[in-house]
Amino acid sequence: MLYREAGDFKSTYPSDNQTFPIRFDRYAYWALIGFAFLVVPFLLTDYWANSIVIPLLIYVIAALGLNILIGYCGQLSLGTGAFMAVGAYATFKLTTAFPWMPIYIVFILAGLVTAAVGVLFGLPSLKIKGFYLAVATLAAQFFLIWLFTRVGWFFNDSATGMISMPERTVFGVLVTGPAASAMAVYMTCLVFVVGMAWLARNLTRGTVGRTWMSIRDMDIAAEIIGVNPLIAKLTAFAVSSFFVGVAGALLFGVYLGAAEAGEAFGINKSFLVLFMVIIGGLGSILGSFLGAAFLIVLPVLLKVFLVDALGWPADLARHLEVMIIGALIVLVLIVEPHGMAALWRTAKEKLRLWPFPH
């Protein structure tokens, strides 16, 4: 009987319009935030941090970004990997060129740089759509990665062609480099995830979000009722790339520590994030969390069960994983095109009525 909206009357439009209209959801949300900030940091081991929690948080940001583009604005992009690379390389260039710059500011600036690049490659979306646009974003993917591996300026002409992150602190605590503690890295990622999820929610609930969705659902009608398609699409590309860029910056800055564009940000990254968005739920912020969590946890689980427990060779487990992901994508699109988030919503609707469904 916990999950009720009866009696929870809204008397103002803002309160009717809030993120969690049901009281129980609100409490659960604050409890979760409290847990993530106050409890998790003290429970976190290096293994959990590195194999699940930190990649999960970083990919949530990337998935949020791509979801804004595909799920909210309906523009398909296969260039996510390259845009993450832009964030990573911008971080590298900024930290090495301006060593005094606070690292959080660097991450945000890296996001802004990516946003600018994203707008540039988003320009074709004004003329083309659907998978035509997907091909245009592939151009971004391959061209940018080529640029980052070929032009020495981007990796400061390092002999290996790799970029590596210098050590940086926040309030005296080391957050980048191999010596940074799991707790510091976790808190950094968490702050960004919470902040950016909040931004994403704000942008999608108001006019900006509605113009995106109107372009997604019917672009011609949207233009006739007054949506400026140029602004709608380019803001979607900018915001999306900003998120993806920050994710790339974090992935390189606090998680990988060193990276090579072709290897860390190849086309497979683009697909990985795309799958997170599809499985999690197109056009849903919660979906971005669920999708990222699912695709980060699945390989770990498969490894634990098949390789560690059953003694399978690692490559076989990996192939099985590829197969499962592929099958899941097809399944999700057939059964529930709005992904895990839609399943969650259905479950909640049932729960609202439980135990008296009629």
């Binding site: 074709p124 091909v135 070929r150 011609i220 086309i267 060779p313 099985l320 097809v330 699109l333």
Partner: protein, 333 residues
């Protein structure tokens, strides 16, 4: 003639032969797109899968041997017999037809009337599934594929082009793989066969009817599902041909599925609905990327093949979105 011009020519000829591969994959795309409006991202992986299956059958490898070994602790790999190529190819075709049937049954049937973008994403999923399946069924190591096609350079071609050097001593004639000449011929045969099939047979007419208008085709009694199985089967056979060509040249390996990505810009150049477009587009991209790399390498560095095709496609999209041969789309409300 100067060295540069001759080498540029050689680069262009190489490009033509790579282009044939792109054309073959793009051809599979066009077939499926015409019949079902689906942009089949899995076409390249289908080529990989077909080639893997062919090699597996030839060698008499046990499907899922790795999986069985890992699960039951056995150590089995081969049946102990080899299947001759002439039998293995029809068997592989049968597998591809079976795959087409399954795709129709399990995927397409449930995704009718979905938006194209959803279908596109579904085929990306399909590509991943098929890739994983291929690796689990036949193992992931690079395999040598030999169906009796000749290897190595073509001496006849080299000798007979030497005169083009006009006395240039560094020039011994153009080098070209004999295999690529075969590929050219086979592609031509394939396209001719397809054109004859679609123009002069009952099924071909049904196919074109479906491509034109699903509803109308249904209403005159054409089975949409049969047509889909048919087109996916044909696409499977085209994939097998592409797989054999590529596999004979550089071994059956994952890079094969990456040519699928190259086929996308080919389609944008050629138009999504045009068979000649796919061929011409493939050749143009093949030649274009080799020549571009040849001339730009000293200036901006090599490996521009990675992105040239996409950038070219992008330029095309901005100025002629319907491609070279596609039909113009008029929007209405």
């Amino acid at each position: 003639m100067s060295d540069t011009v001759l080498f540029a020519f050689e680069a262009a000829i190489n490009g033509l032969t790579v282009g044939i591969m792109y054309s073959l994959v793009a051809l599979g795309f066009v077939l499926i797109f015409k019949a079902s409006g689906i942009f089949n991202f899995a076409q390249g992986v289908m080529a990989l899968f077909a080639a893997l299956t062919l090699v597996g059958l030839q060698e008499g490898a046990i499907p899922f041997a790795h999986l069985i070994n890992a699960t039951f602790g056995t150590s089995i790999h081969h049946f102990g017999f080899n299947i001759p190529t002439l039998i293995a190819i029809p068997l592989t075709i049968a597998v591809m037809v079976g795959f087409a049937w399954l795709v129709e049954r399990i995927v397409l049937k449930h995704l009718v009337n979905q938006e194209p973008i959803i279908l596109f994403m579904a085929t990306i999923g399909l590509a991943y599934f098929l890739e994983g399946l291929g690796d689990i069924m036949w193992g992931a190591e690079v395999k040598r594929l030999d169906v009796g096609l000749p290897q190595g350079g073509n001496i006849w071609f080299e000798e007979n082009t030497q005169w083009l050097g006009f006395g240039n001593e560094n020039f011994y004639g153009f080098y070209i793989d004999t295999l690529n000449l075969y590929a050219l011929v086979i592609a031509a045969i394939l396209v001719t066969a397809l054109v004859i099939f679609s123009q002069y047979t009952k099924q071909g007419r049904a196919l074109r009817a479906v491509a034109d208008d699903h509803q109308a085709a249904l209403s005159v009694g054409i089975s949409l599902r049969f047509i889909w199985v048919l087109t996916w089967s044909i696409a499977g056979i085209v994939a097998l041909v592409a797989g054999i060509m590529w596999g004979s040249k550089s071994g059956v390996q994952f890079s094969l599925s990456l040519i699928a990505l190259k086929a996308l810009p080919v389609l944008i150049l050629g138009g999504f609905t045009s068979i000649p477009g796919a061929i011409v587009g493939g050749l143009l991209i093949g030649v274009g990327e080799k020549l571009f790399d040849f001339f730009m390498q000293p200036i901006i560095g090599g490996a521009t093949e990675n992105w040239f095709a996409y950038m070219l496609a992008l330029a095309f999209l901005l100025f002629r979105p319907q491609g070279l041969f596609g039909e113009k789309i008029i929007e209405r409300v």
